[in-house]
Amino acid sequence: MVYLISIKLRDDYSNFIFYLSPLVAVVLTLFFGSFIFLILDLSPIESFKIFFISPISNSYGISELFVKATPLAIIALGLSYCFKNNIYNIGAEGQLTMGAIFGGGIGLLFNDSTSIFLLPLMILFGAIGGAFWASIPALLKTKFNTNEILTSLMLTYVALFILDYFVVGPWKDPAGYGLPKSMPFPDAGRLPVLFDGLRIHIGVFFAIIICFITHIVYNKTLFGFKLRVSGLSSKASQYAGFKYKNLIFYTFIISGACAGLAGLFEVSGPIGLLYRDISPNYGFTAIIVAFLGRLNPIGIILSSLLIALTYLGAEDAQLFLKIPSAVGFVFQGLVLFFLLGTDFLNKYKVSIS
């Protein structure tokens, strides 16, 4: 007897389940996560408490949650433009790094400035840096039809090495005991915090504003309409007379600018200077955030909070449960895996005959 697995496209796949599946994925992740804790000889309930509840049980924890969620949300909102258009920009981490270099460079250049214009200029250059780095894969794709997944990913490593060069070379702090870091930005180049003693900064407002603008762009403008049509059917987009190459450029530039902005916020906010490890993979994790939020601006805000929690939980787990903080990435991976799984089963019917 031969068993054949057949996979068929469902005629009528459910929109309701499409928006429900992130929730299903989270529940499945918790379920399988408890097995991981069991294998490690830990009580799942206690572990989950440490992982997901205790990090946000005080005002400091909640502030930290927003500190982590802000870059994730800003990057993911930018990426959603690309993903809606079926363009896969995987290099947000590099664009983030380039934004930090450009914007941070301005902060170092005007090191003794006290002008109120310094921070806006840094923010502007952060966005320009990210957009510039994103325009390279866009150019390669439109001119030479290269695969944007590969080029944007590879450019990430180039950007990281450029940052490396600056912090061990020309921008190294002479008073920094030889450590690979720059001197701190002047106070005028630091992102204001919202509450004294907490790290939550005004980047949160940027995330909310970008979310709001994105919501309007997607639902009210012709540009958003073009993105949706191109994402759903490239032939229909041609029929409509849309210029696909221009759309590729615009979406790369928008997502690059957002990633650059997030990078600048990191260095001029919580960090305060340039050094090697400015981002715990925010650029890559934001891909999960974007899809978990269903490329919907409000969904992305919610998913960025959830994923930010895995970062915090991982730190607490390392501290109190003595397990590696990489467990946070395991949870991120599980969420993505189950999300893709539920999406697949929603779209296709699998049967064995």
Binding site: L232, Q238, G241
Partner: protein, 500 residues
Amino acid sequence: MQPIVEFQNICKEYPGVVANNNVSFEITRQSIHAILGENGAGKSTLVKILYGHVKPDKGQIIINSDLATINSPTTAQSLGINMVFQHFSLFESLTVAENLILGMSEKISLSKLKSKSESICNKYGFNLNLNSPISALSVGQRQSVEIVRSLLNNPEILIMDEPTSVLTPEEIKKLFKIIKKLVADGLTVIFISHKLDEIINLSDHVTIMRNGKVVSNLTTKNEDPESLGYKMLGYKVSKTKQINNINYSEDVLSLNNLSSYSQDPFTTNLNKINFKLKKGQIFGIAGVAGNGQKELMEILLNENDYEFNGNIIFKNININKLSTFQRKSLSISYVTEQRLGHSAVPEMSLSENILLSMNHKAEFKRGDFINFDRINSYANDVIKNFNVDTPSFNVKAGKLSGGNLQKFIIGREIMSNPELLILSQPTWGIDAGSEAFIKKSLIELSQKGVSIIIISHDLDELLEVCHNISVLYEGSLSKSLNVENIDITKLGKYMGGLFD
């Protein structure tokens, strides 16, 4: 002599179409039997039933005087039936010999297979290097690989589905020589074609099918291309009707020596196409699918930046280089063959699908924003005026039936007041009510002075609606025939590739 194959009352129905309706005829052993018919006549379904690809609803097949149950191509092969498809299934990166051994049902060593294949090649004159990869072969050579692969199974019957459609004239001559030799050695060949001269040259018998039924079984030597063409289409004479006069005289569109040069073997290059279209004229482009219709539509719509020579003149403006957007802005409208995913996005609402095609019009925009009131009311007007059966303009386009969606799409284009409307297969696969409504709308539109081009495989439709018809055959366009008092013999000849 006993016939080798006997079809008895074969019936096969697909939702909405009867593909085979009581098909019965026999095929003589050691002969070349052609099956002729228009698109959708049921030829392919019938041979797929014989090859075990499709299960008939009713009827039986007798092979060598025995009742045969053919459930799969494997059973067909064990009964000595093999088939060469129009589109090849070869692995590009593997060599000829490797591809051949993949098709073998019995276990055989590569060296033994090579010597067996070589003797077949030598005997019948296939020019194949067994060690070269498929990617290095021409289309004709690839077809040879497919044929040799079938012959290795020692078939009694070989089915060939439109085998000449991808070949050059020189390759066709060679193929025919090979087929004749194979038949002389005992093979029976079933040959599907719509090319009249080929059928006359090659076959011994010909079965003509129409709308799923067999209309005649003929011995080829008693026929000529004219009589075959007439028998394929003859019934249509009675259907043509009085056509309204064209009330205008100025030219709206002219195509001058339009030719394309694609390297892709599965596209048909256009060859010096010329025609002129008057204001208010409905011009039909007939022909069997795959003769350049897709390419012509792509060039007229300017998708994919298709490369071509010649000129397209719309109202004294050369529009060769104009983008789709610019052409639409000049009030040229398009309805493509594929509804879902081309002229409509199934996942989007009907009003969003209005914007899809009307985004060049300022009235639907407020700066960079969408004017939802306008697109909604436009969608409502289309739904009302064109009898689209839907509860609201918020319904997703993919939820509409084919006929309703097509009425919506054509209504959308008509209501934008185009000067030229170009449609491909406007009534393909839709219900009779919608079909009649669309035809009526098109005729009314032309009387208002709008010029219309209809590219269609459905001759009935063209004869009913158009003022003039030309036939597209292998990328060339025939002279145009006046539909009033049309000479069906001539049309039949044109359809079969015999131009004046």
